[in-house]
Amino acid sequence: MRLIDTWANINNWRHHPIEVIYLSMGLLLLAMILPPMPGAALVLLTVTLCALFGARIPPFIFFRVLLLPLTFLLVGSLALVFSVSFDQSTGLEIAFSDQGMQTAKTVILRSISAVSALILLTLTVPLTEIITLMRRVRVPNALIELIELMYRFLFIFDEIFASLLKAQSVRLGYRNLWLSYRSLSSAVAVLFFRAMDRARRLESGLESRGYSGELRVLNVRRKISSRFFIFAVLVHFIILGITFITI
């Protein structure tokens, strides 16, 4: 989580959130509506090129983030490839299905390219920018503030939890499985109280800065680069074009 957020804030495209959102949303749409071969494959290729050479995300990071949904997909589609049947006479039967294999390929390709478009988005646009945009398109304020606070609290939780685990493990709280269960459960319990306390203190801290029920901050306005925009539109049309020619 930290890794994704860090790169979202330091990648080469961080100053073009709106263009990147447009680019990746378009790619997501293409991955979903075009026939997976070659449409989804092209999207996957484009996303990879954009992430590695456009936004300059290190390959190591990009593939690591991509690997996570890929494992889920692979495991999940096992069910498509093998059909399990139970018969009184023959007993349990596991069969490899050719048609299932075909379906699995399509599903995997389509989903991984769709997911990759989303990964491009999360790796290159800081959440703060997405929130700014949401504010501009008039998403209700309460919802936006909730998202912002949750975003901040996620990291505070992470910090509190990490320090609790450290406090326990330096005193050998994780020496064996039984102790680990006990330590972990008490850490979770304490996390709850610490988090409540944090929330209370944060509220009075904000009050001392004039907080009166509305979290208003000044958002940096970004200039939209028309060259980037044209690039995004071109990418979309090239993928569309190639797909139609090859069908």
Partner: protein, 299 residues
């Protein structure tokens, strides 16, 4: 307002404060009142250090300075006028008296530094271009312009502390209260902080800090306030107050090293039977104070 400016920007008269759970705390055998009868005066434009051991009530007292806590009994005067705890008056008060809490995470909430610092000025209802100017200036003043676009959770403790200070400075308070501003900072961080404080003081701000660091207080403050068990034991000029060894020790405080060294020198001089001139009673203290001032970074 300028016409009838009071010499004392803040004044506390017999403040008493009990936390909600006072009866429970008492049953545990701990003093129930966090503050019991605190009286003090803060001069406009002065640099005040509040000293005291753990649990002496420093943080509780500072929370009264901007109206965050309302005293259980006693009175607080802001610029000579009794404090008004109505919602509207408190907002105005909190702008005049800026408060930097002990833990920066209690004060920072927004995702990036720039946005976070803009929070206070936005709450003052300023137009956006004004807010932008204030944020930029505050970041410059605290030397963290280069952090403007950083996500707040990617900052070190010292950097977060500076962001918390910038967030309050951007509201341009007359009085800046900092609860243990040097705790957790490395030596160069402390010096940077002192530079920042000197700059704010030069602009006319009144500064109040709490600290355990007697040396820092001795070299920095115009006036020190010593607290113990929820009470003010002494308030006065550092040299005079802090050379009272029994009083300092009873408040869990050491002597500042320049004073300790002075004492040692004096004893040794006596030992060598070199007599000081009788008509210069304070010369040694002044000399040592000069050394101490010199030992800090130039500001």
């Amino acid at each position: 307002m300028v016409a009838n400016m009071n010499k004392f920007i803040l004044e506390a008269r017999n403040l008493t404060y009990e936390y909600n759970a006072a009866s429970v705390i008492e049953s545990l055998g701990v003093r129930p009142q966090a503050l019991s009868g605190v009286s003090l005066m803060i001069k406009r434009g002065s640099k005040v250090a509040i000293l005291g051991g753990n649990g002496a009530g420093k943080s509780t007292l500072t929370m009264h300075f901007n109206g965050m806590y309302k005293p259980t009994s006693g009175e607080l005067l802001l610029d000579g006028k009794p404090a008004d705890y109505s919602r509207k008056a408190r907002l105005d008060w909190m702008q005049r008296v800026g408060m930097v809490l002990q833990d920066p995470d209690d004060q920072i909430f927004s995702a990036t530094v720039f946005k976070d610092v803009s929070f206070g000025p936005m709450n003052l209802g300023l137009p956006e271009d004004q807010v932008k100017i204030r944020v930029t200036e505050a970041l410059e003043e605290i030397d963290i312009s280069f952090l403007a676009e950083m996500p707040t959770h990617m900052l070190s403790f010292g950097q977060r502390k500076k962001v918390a200070i910038a967030g309050v400075v951007a509201m341009r308070p007359e009085v800046l209260v900092l609860d243990e501003p040097t705790a957790g900072l490395d030596p160069s961080g402390v010096d940077q902080l002192l530079n920042i404080l000197a700059r704010l003081h030069a602009r006319g701000a009144t500064l109040i800090i709490t600290t355990h660091d007697v040396d820092l207080a001795y070299g920095w403050a115009d006036e020190v306030i010593i607290m113990k068990d929820g009470q003010v034991v002494r308030q006065g000029e550092p040299n005079e107050v802090m050379s009272d060894i029994p009083m300092m020790e009873s408040a869990s405080l050491r002597q500042p090293w320049p004073l300790a060294m002075g004492q040692a020198l004096e004893e040794n001089l006596a030992c060598l039977r070199i007599k000081r001139k009788a008509n210069e009673p304070n010369s040694l203290g002044d000399f040592i104070k000069a050394i101490n001032t010199k030992s800090r970074l130039p500001v």
